[in-house]
Amino acid sequence: MIFQFLIDGIILGSTYALLTSGYALLIGTLYLLNLAHADTFMIGAFLGLTFVSVLQMPFFVALIAASICSGILAVGVYFTSFRFVKSEYMDVAPFLSSIAMGMILQVVASEIWGTLQSAFPETIQVTQYHIGPIILSSIQLVVLLVANGLMVALYCLLTFSKVGKALRAICEDSTLAQLLGVKASRIILFTFFISGVLAGVAGVLIGFLFGAIEPFMGATVGLKGIGIMVLGGLGNVIGAMVAAMIMGIAEVLTAGYFSASYRDAIVWGVLILVLLFKPGGLFGTRIQEGR
């Protein structure tokens, strides 16, 4: 039983990791919390659903199309809520503006797709694999591979590519990075796009995994992503991924051994405890605490 819970938790955690790393990227580079990210994730899920069921696209094509659309949406949110909004006042103005954008997206989604749960069609042959004590469905396998593949790709992008280097430079000291010739505005646009893409993939994968999506999932699953991000250390992408795995497992264990209805609270309970004793998060560095 425990192995089954662990693997289920890791699968759930990998989708959370996709969602959370989007938040972490934006906090890390720009010190901006984009709450519309949660609803970008929800829109991504619905776009995936539409592409699969209405436009009859194959699953992977729909996944890519939905994630690109979400990326573009995230860039749009950048222009409405961040590019021209001054952050000097209480440093929450862009944050509030992004919440309001999220509200608008939520209304638009419930007008288009209805407020009830929509079933996500099964687009691939569902087979069960028995590996020792663990049962793994082909859906779970796809989610696991896609999510973790993307995580590795993101890690490589951040660590080895020129863009990743520029991104990390902005994260350390944006003024100095710009003095040294990093084109910050272009990198920022790129970061928003990538975060949107990750949210879109996470949305489609969660819809695929649970079989149902609703317009309000941005406010539940999406907000959970913020908690996980803080848990991992503000703006620390790798920390966010690890924290997402931990939370995925913790949630599945809570649901399995305690009560399914409290699974949504576990993230926040752990988060508040961690903030009490280690305000920088589990993997917070000196830079993140000082900012």
Partner: protein, 289 residues
């Protein structure tokens, strides 16, 4: 007065109390996304007291508000450890989400089906509470405590150098805010007859935050005017049905773009009082020229 107008007035007054409750947190430079939860605590406790234990409404409201204030202290202390507003937003968001799950899963208060049977909030009761709170803020802001809060808000380090107990001031303000939110929650429950957990979730906290941010968190009148205008606007937009939340969002996006400090700020208040003074002294002696 017809019932419809009275209903809108009561809603506006409850929202003004909510805005004031958040203003008391913001006036010490803090931030909260848990006020929906505090409102819920007040609403549920006062409802249980009046419906199940037949406690008089006034007493029930006071007890509920005190308990909510107690929760405010519990949340306020850890919140102090997180220095930046962004962290504070997230920590209070967490508390709000936990409370939502608790409301949703406690059978005694009806869980997801809600709790019903409360009545008793009248226009005069709500008006009385609003009047008391405004007088309270008016007195506090002109006292030493008000000065201390302003100091803590704009520079906590300097304030603590001057010998102010920053921790006590911040936690008191947070508890005071939670107390008022609990009071508003109790009034709301006994006006609405029926309460359910979803009212007190993230969205509830957001609406309260929007009142203050839209009106302007710098000054007392900002939050009051924000609550009045936004509540009235929501009522006027009722004909747009489900799109009104989107309109609401659009208004916030626009106000953040053009006036991030909110409609009313210190400059505007100074300008108004200057021009009023100008009008009064016009034609009289030309002092200062």
């Amino acid at each position: 007065m017809n019932l419809y107008i009275a209903g809108i007035l009561i809603t506006i007054e409850i929202n003004v109390i909510l805005a004031l409750s958040l203003y008391s947190v913001i006036s010490t430079g803090q931030f909260s996304l848990a006020h929906g939860a505090f409102m819920g605590i007040g609403a549920y406790i006062s409802s249980v007291l009046t419906v199940n234990f037949h406690v008089p409404l006034g007493v029930a409201l006071l007890i509920a508000a005190l308990i909510s204030g107690g929760f405010g202290i519990i949340v306020g202390f850890p919140a102090l450890r997180v220095r930046r507003n962004l962290y504070l937003a997230i920590a209070t968001l967490g508390f709000g989400e936990i409370m939502r799950v608790v409301f949703l899963n406690t059978e005694y208060i009806g869980a997801a089906t809600g709790f019903r049977g409360m009545k008793g909030t009248s226009l005069s009761l709500a008006t009385g509470v609003v009047a008391i709170l405004i007088i309270f803020f008016y007195v506090v802001e002109r006292s030493r405590l008000g000065l201390a809060r302003e100091a803590v808000r704009y520079n906590p380090d300097a304030a603590s150098m001057m010998g102010l107990n920053v921790t006590r001031i911040k936690v008191t303000a947070f508890a005071q805010g939670a107390f008022m939110a609990g009071l508003a929650g109790g009034l709301y429950a006994h006006y609405a007859y029926f309460i359910e957990p979803s009212t007190f979730g993230f969205f509830g906290s957001l609406i309260i935050l929007f009142f203050v941010i839209f009106g302007g968190g710098e000054v007392l009148w900002g939050s009051i005017i924000g609550a009045v205008i936004l509540t009235a606007l929501l009522e006027l937009l009722r004909f747009t049905l489900s799109w009104r939340i989107a309109f609401y969002g659009a208004i916030i996006v626009i106000i953040m773009l053009v006036r991030p400090q909110g409609l009313v700020d210190k400059n505007l208040l100074n300008w108004i009082s200057d021009s009023v003074r100008g009008m009064v002294s016009f034609g009289g002696s030309k002092r200062g020229e």
